[in-house]
């Protein structure tokens, strides 16, 4: 089982994602965006960064990269596809996930730790977590405010497509102001209807070792590994 980490020009979390995947024992490789085939890969990750310098609009140009045809093919066949941060933006631009990511309400790039609640654990990305578990994960983005029209939001909620939601810290469960970017419904991550395409703004690959200050992102990569083992068994 091999995981492709797609490198667009301007991606900058590609190496970090590769490191996290290999840390849990997954075989992972970098794939340049001009690659026309993802033959032999059973999962793809679109990493964070500034693909094409965020020119035009974050993620707007990357969707035209040749490799995206193959990412669609993997997704349509039910293989896991994950977009983290800029990767999430690319997935919404490419129409693989609904909605859009707009400028944060504070109108600037924000890098800090947030808490997110795990809303579903029946997915190839979250089986290692417990229901309602609070994760401490870093965010680093200027355009992470999840937006969709009311109808889409309702559908997302009805289908339980919201996977991660921003939440107050466990020490102050009543606190407000925990949503770092103004996302509707506190959405930090969603899946498609089939549940095999995940987009999320927080960076799980930055929380995989104690020395980095936390390991709450490890569960995502471990879940992916377990899912791929089942998929290929």
């Amino acid at each position: 089982m091999r995981v492709a980490v797609v490198q667009f020009p301007g991606s900058n979390c590609d190496q970090d994602t590769l490191w996290a995947l290999r840390l849990v024992g997954l075989q992972a490789e970098l794939v340049w965006h001009t690659e026309g085939s993802l033959e032999g890969f059973q999962a793809a990750i679109l990493p964070g960064g500034f693909s094409y310098g965020d020119y035009l609009r974050a993620g707007a140009l990357a969707k035209f990269s040749p490799v995206m045809q193959e990412v669609r093919r993997l997704a349509s066949r039910g293989y896991p596809v994950v977009g983290i941060c800029n990767g999430f933006q690319v997935l919404t631009e490419a129409g693989l996930l609904p909605g859009a990511l707009l400028a944060n309400t504070n109108l600037h790039f924000t890098c800090k730790e947030v808490f997110v609640r795990v809303e579903r654990i029946d997915l190839p990305f979250t089986s290692g977590y417990s229901p309602g578990q609070l994760l401490r994960l870093p965010i680093a983005h200027g355009e992470g405010r999840y937006y969709a029209d009311a109808e889409t939001l309702e559908r997302l909620e009805q289908n339980h497509q919201v996977v991660f939601r921003y939440a107050p810290p466990p020490s102050t469960p009543e606190a407000t102001g925990y949503n770092p970017n103004g996302s509707l419904h506190d959405i930090a991550g969603i899946v498609n209807e089939k549940g095999n395409v995940l987009g999320m703004m927080p960076h799980p690959e930055r929380a995989v070792e104690e020395v980095l200050g936390g390991t709450d992102g490890l569960g995502l990569f471990r879940s992916l590994k377990a899912a791929l083992e089942v998929l290929l068994a």
């Binding site: 970090d16 790039f109 890098c111």
Partner: protein
């Protein structure tokens, strides 16, 4: 001579005596283009005309040093085949005129310097100075500079892990923006700016446009009322192209395609190519017709002076030319052989098949240097000598701490560093605000490096020599306090006009101070930058030696952060309880005075204190430690309460004035906590070293309580936090 070419001399601003020297070196009159080559290469920014004789005083050798000053960056070895390249550089004048792009291209430029050594950038730091915080222009500059740093650093994917922001009226007319970058490399991949005979020289990266023309020369003049007209001298940064250029360069080095690398920075093609030729002991012929350009109709002069960003010079190994071109093409970048090395030691520029300039490389590289007479500004000597013994005793100690915490120079920096990606690369062990220095682990090893940049403008203004010594001692102390052994430093020297006696005095004293502290602390300088002429019509900036120290942690697990994290741990102070009020933040804030002498610095004691805290951390006895700096003991204790919201109760016994006890400043002081189990062993160890210390109290609760001989002071940690967090948030929401 003046009679023959007055208009051209007037146009270039080259002084007549330097013009005569140029004519002597050439053996003829230069043409206009040649004269401009001299103007930029002999600018203070490129040639260090006033500082070079003084910089010879600084120690540059050390067991870890692989590359000292003179290359794109310095390099020190950190073991297991790894080395780090680092350098600090100023971008003051561009940032004063166009803060966003000025700061952004400052970051881009220092990143390219690190890449040119064959190193992958792993950390950015910055050191910023602004004028009066309440002034609207200060806010405009601060917001712009922070936005520029974030814009470039976040996009190119290098974490901004540390820095400092100071406000002082002396920077009102001339803010300072210095950026430091640290890169990681395998020792065997170290690259230098060299090329061998007959090799083609490739231009890689963005195309050349009309931006940034004459930037190096602009950096070497005082700022004037006509600043706005200098906007075309400011370069425009493109982190996306910067990222592609970085990846192509590092991949070319990894694949063994190149023998030499040079960043194209200040003075663009002129400086990068002529310096590489000079360092290689050869000459170079540049064909301007081959230079990729953004716009038609650019003259040879514009091409030679353009400081368009995101450009590198790569010299391929024989037979690897096509591989290099193919690699660049994969990233969609230009890679064009614009020049070739020649045996004759001249810098020759050809355009349209004709030689348009030809100058000996040595003549460009070796500008005249100046040693001048310095004289201290009597007003500063007078302020330093001011007797502070009559200072009224404080009425409101309780409120004074809250006011200090809310002061622009001591309040929380989170509103600034939250705008920077400080984690990309997944090496950042101590996030900003968590420790006295940034700590970055080295993947695949147990090692880590610690980095800190520091300078106190008040100390340096009142006593330039002692202030410079403090800057190096404090940056090194911060590195030691996280548990790392300082290895070497880079210095960003920012000063006023050296052609005035006062300016030259400050330059000379600053470097003398650094040299003395360097020798005592055993720290060599491996790279640096000198930025002079930092003054406006009314003010000369305080001397500002921004010192960036890099240290090594052999085991990343054996480190300390600054926040109290364990109830019941004992709080120990290394050094005396009483600090000095001279040049202190307290004196400025509560009495509106910048006067008196900065605290004395006993370097031999400083060395012992730093060794002691490193050893305590290295033995695994101490995990929490913090330097006592501006604002004194009370502020340092508060800073330890804030990260985890844990309070402490301490008792100070000295009979000194209470403000000197609480807010007085002194070097060689460190607060740390230790569990009961290691308390006695730690105390015995410090006694054995002859390091003064006292057990002040214990960690616990949600209040900070300080008992003085005649008073009891108490604050809730929440109140302290509110005072500390608010002020900058208002400027950077």
């Amino acid at each position: 001579m003046q009679e023959t070419l007055p208009p051209l001399l007037q146009e270039t601003g080259i002084p007549p005596h330097e013009y005569r020297e140029i004519v002597r070196l050439l053996g003829r009159e230069p043409n206009r283009l040649e004269l401009y080559l001299f103007k930029v290469m002999w600018s203070e920014h490129c040639a260090y005309k006033n500082s070079r004789p003084l910089l010879r005083l600084l120690p540059k050798e050390g067991p870890a040093v692989l590359q000292g000053p003179g290359e794109n960056a310095g390099v020190v070895e950190i073991g297991e085949g790894w080395a780090v390249a680092f350098k600090i550089e100023s971008h003051n004048h561009p940032s004063a005129v166009e803060p966003v792009q000025g700061a952004a291209t400052g970051v881009g430029g220092i990143i390219r310097d690190i890449v040119a050594m064959g190193a992958r950038p792993i950390a950015l730091l910055n050191s910023l100075r602004f004028g009066r915080p309440e002034d609207p222009r200060t806010r405009y500059l601060l917001r712009g500079v922070v936005e520029g740093i974030a814009h470039y650093g976040n996009a190119i994917g290098v974490p901004t892990v540390g820095g400092e922001v100071y406000f002082h009226p002396g920077y009102q007319e001339n803010p300072l923006v210095n950026a430091m970058c640290v890169g990681l490399l395998r020792v065997e991949e170290l690259k230098r700016s060299r090329a061998s005979r007959a090799r083609p020289v490739y231009y890689v990266g963005s195309k050349t446009g009309r931006d940034g023309i004459g930037g190096a020369a602009f950096a070497s003049e005082e700022l004037s009322e006509e600043n706005e007209s200098k906007r075309p001298s400011v370069q425009v940064g493109d982190p996306f192209m910067g990222k592609l250029t970085l990846e192509v360069t590092l991949e070319a080095i990894r694949q063994g395609l190149v023998e030499g690398v040079q960043d194209m920075g200040a003075a663009g093609l002129t400086s990068s190519l002529s310096e590489m030729a000079h360092k290689s002991g050869l000459g170079l012929e540049l064909d301007l017709d081959r230079v990729p350009r953004r716009e038609p109709g650019m003259t040879p002069l514009e091409l030679m002076l353009s400081e368009s960003q995101e450009r590198m010079v790569l010299v391929p190994r024989p037979g690897k030319e096509k591989d290099l071109e193919a690699l660049a093409a994969r990233f969609g970048l230009d890679a064009v052989p614009v020049a070739h090395m020649i045996a004759e030691p001249v810098f020759r520029v050809v355009a349209g098949g004709e030689v348009v300039a030809e100058v000996p490389t040595q003549a460009l590289a070796e500008a005249p240097t100046y040693v001048r007479e310095g004289r201290e500004d009597p007003a500063i000597a007078q302020a330093r000598a001011q007797d502070l013994s009559g200072l009224p005793l404080p009425q409101d100690l309780q409120g004074a701490l809250l006011r200090l915490l809310a002061s622009p120079n001591l309040c929380s920096r989170a509103p600034v560093f939250e705008r920077y990606d400080h984690q990309v690369g997944t090496n950042t062990v101590l996030l900003p605000g968590k420790g006295d220095a940034a700590v970055l682990r080295i993947k695949g090893t147990r090692r880590a490096i610690a980095v800190k940049v520091d300078a106190n403008p008040r100390y340096c203004r009142l006593f330039p020599r002692l202030g410079a010594m403090h800057a190096l001692a404090e940056a090194a102390r911060n590195v030691s306090v996280v548990g790392a052994r300082p290895l070497a430093y880079t210095d960003g020297l920012n000063l006023g006009n050296p052609e005035t006696p006062e300016g030259y005095f400050e330059l000379s004293e600053t470097i003398h101070g650094l040299a003395e502290a360097s020798r005592a602390l055993g720290l060599p300088v491996v790279s640096g930058n000198v930025s002079l002429y930092n003054e406006g019509p009314n003010h000369r900036i305080p001397p500002t030696p921004m010192v960036g120290v890099v240290g090594l942690l052999e085991e990343v697990e054996r480190r300390a952060e600054l926040g109290f994290c364990k109830e019941g741990a004992f709080v120990v102070l290394i050094g005396p309880e009483e600090g000095h009020l001279g040049a202190s933040e307290y004196l400025w804030l509560e009495h509106g005075l910048e006067a008196g002498s900065p605290p004395p610095l006993e370097l031999a004691l400083e060395v012992r204190v730093q060794a002691a805290i490193r050893e305590l951390i290295g033995r695994g006895w101490v995990q929490t430690a913090h330097d006592v700096a501006e604002g004194g003991l009370a502020v340092a204790l508060t800073e330890m309460c804030l990260p985890y919201g844990l309070g402490a109760t301490v008792e100070l016994r000295s009979p000194a004035r209470p403000d000197a006890l609480l807010f007085g400043e002194a070097p060689s002081r460190v607060l740390f906590t230790v569990d009961q189990a290691y308390l006695q062993a730690s105390a015995e160890y410090l006694e054995g070293l002859g390091v003064p210390y006292r057990i002040l109290g214990q960690v616990g609760g949600d209040r900070l309580t300080i008992l003085l001989p005649k008073a009891r002071l108490e604050w809730s940690v929440d109140d302290l936090r509110r005072a500390w967090e608010a002020p900058l948030r208002e400027v950077l929401p």
